[in-house]
């Protein structure tokens, strides 16, 4: 093999390279010059027939040629590939929609509950759950409802027998929890509750509550405020304003309702807040000493607070939903918005 031969090979490669403008011609170029039976391989093969003194020079020449081929081949391949990407075949319609995967969603009430669970879990609360059918004792008596309290009326409560009923609030779980543990107690209780109410846009005979209870030594009204203000700000945003109004519940004393500034109008006054700028978020209070005594806690040693709120109401407030029945229709057109 002589040097002019090498020069010719180079020329031949250059002309082939010129015509290699797509991936298949570039591949053909590789096979012809760099492949297993290609030009470089046969040159290397022919080297073994040379006299030993000529071998180094020849080897170097072939190596240079191989480098030349490789560098130019790589460049041509890159070029061809990039061309490939920028121009797909004309019949490829990338504007057709992709193949959808099934997509389910959680119910808005679950979304809000999970948010609350998250907030209270971070504050160190555990979850307790209890039965939906309750006895008179847990639903009323242990919670300090006097025997003739109006809430015990058939008008408000759905009875199963004379002394069992569908719980009217999640508060019986307070009693069940306190009876089964010793202080300190820190629980939240979610669950279904029932009222003897006709179904309308504003009320439903079934709804979900979340109840909270915190019992320890030296817990005060100031702690109640601190905890619940923090909750409201985490749930509704740190700019939300709160206020506590005196109120009445049989199982707390003192009792307070917590209002938050209306999130629809930002407290300026609108239809939702009846132009007061405030909407009620929850009922709360210091656990009544009678309730503590009923579960065997000494009210001189332990004190605590409890609160309860309706998840439906809060969800309606959060998303501006006006009809509570939406939650129970199972209408996918509504559920798919969450």
């Amino acid at each position: 093999m002589t040097l002019p031969n090498i020069v010719n090979l180079r020329k031949e490669f250059d002309s082939d390279l010129k015509n290699s403008n797509n991936s298949s011609s570039v591949e053909a170029l590789r096979i012809k010059y760099l492949g297993r039976n290609g030009v470089i391989s046969s040159l290397m093969e022919s080297m073994k027939d040379l006299p030993n003194e000529e071998k180094p020079a020849f080897g170097k020449t072939v190596n240079d040629l191989k480098n030349y081929f490789t560098v130019n081949y790589d460049a041509a391949l890159k070029k061809a590939n990039s061309k490939n990407k920028s121009s797909p075949p004309p019949d490829f319609d990338h504007t057709l929609p992709g193949v959808e995967l099934p997509l389910g969603r959680k119910h808005p009430l679950t979304i809000v509950w999970e948010e609350m669970l998250d907030i209270f879990t971070r504050m160190g609360f555990e979850v307790a759950r209890g039965p939906e059918v309750e006895t008179e004792y847990y639903n009323f008596s242990a919670l300090n409802f006097p025997d003739n309290h109006p809430a015990r009326d058939m008008q408000d409560t759905l009875y199963i027998t004379d002394n069992t009923m569908l719980r009217t609030h999640t508060s019986p779980v307070q009693i069940r929890t306190m009876l089964s543990t010793t202080p300190p107690v820190r629980v939240i209780v979610p669950g279904r509750v029932y009222r003897n109410e006709a179904i309308s846009a504003r009320s439903y005979c079934v709804f979900n509550q979340i109840e909270g209870l915190y019992i320890d030594k030296g817990v005060s009204l100031a702690d109640l405020k601190g905890t619940l203000i923090s909750f409201a700000k985490q749930l509704l945003g740190s700019s939300v304003k709160t206020r506590f109004r005196a109120s009445y519940f049989p199982f707390t004393e003192p009792s307070a309702e917590m209002d938050v500034s209306c999130i629809i109008c930002d407290g300026k006054g609108c239809r939702v807040c009846k132009y007061t700028g405030w909407v009620e978020l929850l009922g709360s209070g210091m656990v009544d000493p009678n309730v503590l005594r009923n579960v065997g806690y000494d009210p001189e040693v332990y004190s605590g607070f409890a609160w309860g709120l309706g998840i439906e109401r809060t969800t309606m407030m959060k998303y501006g939903i006006k009809d509570i029945r939406f939650f129970y229709d199972g209408d996918l057109r509504i559920l798919e918005q969450f």
Partner: protein
């Protein structure tokens, strides 16, 4: 409770705006629900209906000629059923603007001219009553403007009171709270009553038989009064809180009721027989006619006020017609009593009769303010109706209800409220609320609680009084350190979230449904027990408690199909409830998670055809769900249930988890559904147990696996699980997994044959496998299959 701010200002000098007052009361627990400012209603005048005939073109309308003091009578079309000639009414003349920017214009109504509107109480914001037009007393002067009849400079507050505050059901009661909040004096009216020389007790006596129902009963007697129209100041006051003026005597007792909160009843003395009033319990089925003209049958145990012969009043609730004060009444017996709250509540509930009096007695009136209330009402009656008051109160009060004593510890106040409150501040507040300090020492005060506060019984109740008057908003919130009590917080709850996340990931939408249902729906549960029922259901549609999540979910599927959806995948998580004699509540509640698939599971698109749900879609979801939860084997055993076409018990790692199946055609028919619907329901607690198990980790093999496909030809009645059992039962630990890749029937197979193809994967964590050893295993599987199932290898 309606409170007039003008009236309120008789008892306290406040210089605050109505908005500020309403805010203060709301924060202290007397929630102000609405504030209505007075409206002059310019253009509204008194009119007299001179003529009233039927509208020629409308059944329900009348044509009226109304005299409003102008030269010409106005023709007005009126739609109220109570309009008739001779009535004095309020007319909004043309040009008047009523609330809601409703301008009265000259109009033609069904072809007849109408020049004004005869108003109802609601239209003039006097009450919520919209039952016809408002009728004025006959004496009302035609042409006088609205502002002469009603106090238009007033503001009306509507209070939503909690049931523990009967003391706030009066103007003085509300003023008392304000006096404590603002530290201002409460100005109680003073009463000077001139009595005649005749002793009342010489004429009459009071006897109490039912001492529990009526602990105290007192009367005064006034003679020679003259019934007539109330003076303007009185009727205006009553009008301002939505009470209609009737006559001077009735108005006076209503006035004291609204002022002071203690109900008072007046009898026409001459209609009572004998000279003794007795208070007793009713006997069963006794009949009386109340003031509203309704005959009522009583049960036992209703408190009755009687003369010598007959009942004359239902104690604490309503008087009877037979002793009513009328225009002819000359002599009065005025009753002021204290009735037992529980008894009044029961009677009122049984009778379905809730009155201004019963509302107060059932919450608890003050048994010890009776003298004052009687003197107050008598002094007003004498002032406006004349007459003489006989000397003394005839008072039967066998055992006096004493003020209760409470020890209040300063330290305790501070620890409950969480801030330091000075002793003098505490005393100021309690003093304004009319608590008496009986004695005190370094640590505590002994208090006497006024008997108008039945809600205050204990130290904690007094602390609440202090806190609410100070205002909860003035208590600084603590930054109490909240430190987790437990390191394993809410495992089940986070597992619950995971379960829902999985189903959402599979494409299911979560629903919440009503857990109460009619019996016809409950029946679809396929439960063998009888339903748990509500004894006082809202309606029969909500009588039974759910024994399964299926019926309501099927209803939701139908709801969506009726709204043009053709692919519905739903799930719900909740309790099902069945009877259980052994439990303390008589029922057993089980937490379930359930899902339903109906219509297309893979909705069609331009690339793929749609696929409708079938048994294998359901089975696939259940298998995948349980695998994700951590069960290694899931099996299904057939059982029969009328609500399902095919029902299967779902078993995961040998634990019964629930069931699944295809809904039966009869169940579908209830909702007129004509598609196949699949359902599963699993016990959540069993799933939690599995989820809380530790994961047994094993390293994947470094060596390549070997795969084999084997096709068997078997009898087409053979269930694949028999063949699978042979494969999984092969004596080797090298078989890592298998799956069925095809099931085929048809040519070239015989009619009663099918082929089942398995794809087997072998591997070892220790070494590279030899082809020969795998061939051996496969051969032995094939041999066993051939021997025991007559399965042949497909060429």
């Amino acid at each position: 409770m309606k409170i007039s701010l003008n009236w309120l200002s008789e008892y306290i000098n406040i210089s605050k705006s109505p908005e500020e007052i309403s805010q203060l009361l709301t924060m202290a627990g007397l929630e102000v629900n609405s504030l209505k400012k007075g409206n002059e209603f310019k253009g509204v005048v008194v009119g007299e209906v001179k003529e009233c005939v039927k509208h020629p073109n409308a059944d329900k309308l009348s044509l009226c000629k109304v005299d409003v003091g102008t030269e010409e009578e106005l023709s007005i079309v009126c739609g109220a059923s109570n309009v008739k000639a001779g009535l004095k009414v309020l007319v909004a003349t043309v040009g008047t603007i009523l609330p809601g920017n409703f301008k009265i214009k000259k109009a033609k109504i069904r072809g007849e001219e109408s020049r004004g509107m005869i108003c109802s109480e609601k239209e003039l914001q006097l009450s919520d009553s919209h039952e016809g037009i408002m009728v004025l007393p006959e004496e009302s002067e035609v042409g006088s403007p609205f502002s002469e009849l009603f106090d238009t400079s007033d503001t009306l507050m509507e209070l939503d009171l909690t049931p523990n505050r009967p003391d706030a059901m009066s103007h003085i009661g509300v003023a008392r709270d304000l006096s404590a909040i603002l530290n201002l004096d409460l100005l109680k009216p003073s009463v000077k009553l001139e009595e005649s020389d005749v002793d009342a007790s010489s004429e009459y006596s009071v006897e109490i038989e039912d001492k529990t129902g009526c602990p105290r009963f007192a009367v005064r007697i006034i003679k020679n009064i003259k019934i007539g129209k109330s003076p303007d100041w009185l009727s205006k006051r009553l009008n301002s809180v939505g009470i209609r003026s009737i006559n001077n005597v009735v108005d006076a007792s209503n006035y004291v009721l609204m002022e002071f909160g203690h109900p008072i009843h007046t009898f026409d003395m001459d209609k009572l027989s004998g000279n003794k009033i007795s208070v007793r319990s009713s006997s069963k089925d006794e009949k009386v006619v109340t003031l509203d003209g309704v005959e009522r049958k009583l049960r036992e145990d209703t408190v009755l006020v009687c003369d010598d012969e007959k009942p004359v009043g239902i104690g604490g609730i309503m008087g009877l017609q037979n002793s009513e004060v009328t225009d002819e009444t000359a002599n009065l017996i005025i009753e002021c009593a204290y009735f037992d709250p529980g008894k009044i509540r029961n009677s009122s509930k049984i009778l379905g009769l809730y009155t201004e009096a019963s509302k107060r007695f059932e919450r608890g009136c003050d048994p010890n303010d009776i003298e004052f209330a009687l003197d107050r009402v008598c002094s007003i009656i004498v002032e406006i109706a004349g007459g003489e008051v006989l000397k003394g109160i005839i008072d039967n009060y066998p055992s006096k209800i004493e003020k209760i004593k409470i020890q209040l510890r300063q330290k305790r106040i501070n620890s409950v409220i969480g801030m330091e409150i000075s002793e003098s501040k505490v005393k100021d507040i309690l003093n304004r609320l009319e608590f008496e300090v009986k004695s005190e020492n370094k640590e505590s005060i002994e208090l006497l609680v006024p008997t108008f506060r039945p809600d205050v019984e204990r130290e904690i109740d007094v602390i609440e009084e202090v806190a609410r008057i100070i205002g909860y908003d003035n208590i600084p919130p603590s930054e109490h350190a909240l430190i987790p009590l437990s390191t394993s917080l809410n495992n089940n709850e986070s597992n619950n979230i995971k379960l829902k996340n999985m189903l959402v990931g599979f494409g299911f939408n979560e629903i919440y449904t009503n857990s109460l249902m009619p019996y016809e729906l409950w029946e679809l549960s396929g439960d063998n027990n009888s339903p748990v029922k509500v004894t006082n259901p809202i309606s029969l549609d909500m009588e039974c408690l759910r024994a399964s999540l299926m019926p309501r979910m099927l209803e939701a599927v139908s709801y969506n199909f009726n709204r043009q959806r053709n692919s519905v995948m739903l799930f719900e998580d909740g309790n099902v409830i069945i009877p259980d004699d052994k439990s303390e509540t008589g029922v057993k509640e089980t937490h379930m998670i359930a899902a339903m698939i109906a219509g297309e599971v893979n909705p069609g698109n331009w690339l793929n055809r749609s696929r409708s749900a079938d048994y294998f879609s359901l089975k696939g979801v259940v298998e995948t769900f349980l695998k994700a939860i951590g069960f290694s084997t899931v099996t299904f055993t057939l059982f029969s249930n009328s609500s399902y076409r095919n029902a299967f018990t779902v078993i995961g790692d040998e634990i019964k988890l629930g069931f699944m199946g295809e809904i039966s055609p009869t169940s579908l028919k209830v909702f007129d559904l004509e598609i196949a619907v699949y359902y599963f329901e699993l016990e959540v607690d069993s799933l939690y147990t599995q989820m809380s198990k530790d994961i047994a980790f094993s390293e994947p093999s470094k060596y390549p696996s070997i795969m084999r496909d084997i096709s068997f030809i078997v009898d087409d009645s053979l269930h694949s699980e028999e063949l699978t059992a042979i494969i999984t039962g092969a004596k080797t630990d090298l078989l890592k997994s298998y799956k069925i890749t095809s099931v085929y029937k048809g040519s070239p197979l015989k009619d009663n044959e099918k082929s089942i193809t398995y794809h087997l994967i072998f591997s070892s964590v220790e070494r590279t496998l030899e082809e020969e050893e795998i061939d051996k295993i496969c051969a032995s599987i094939i041999n066993v299959a051939s021997d025991s199932l007559n399965a042949n290898l497909r060429a």
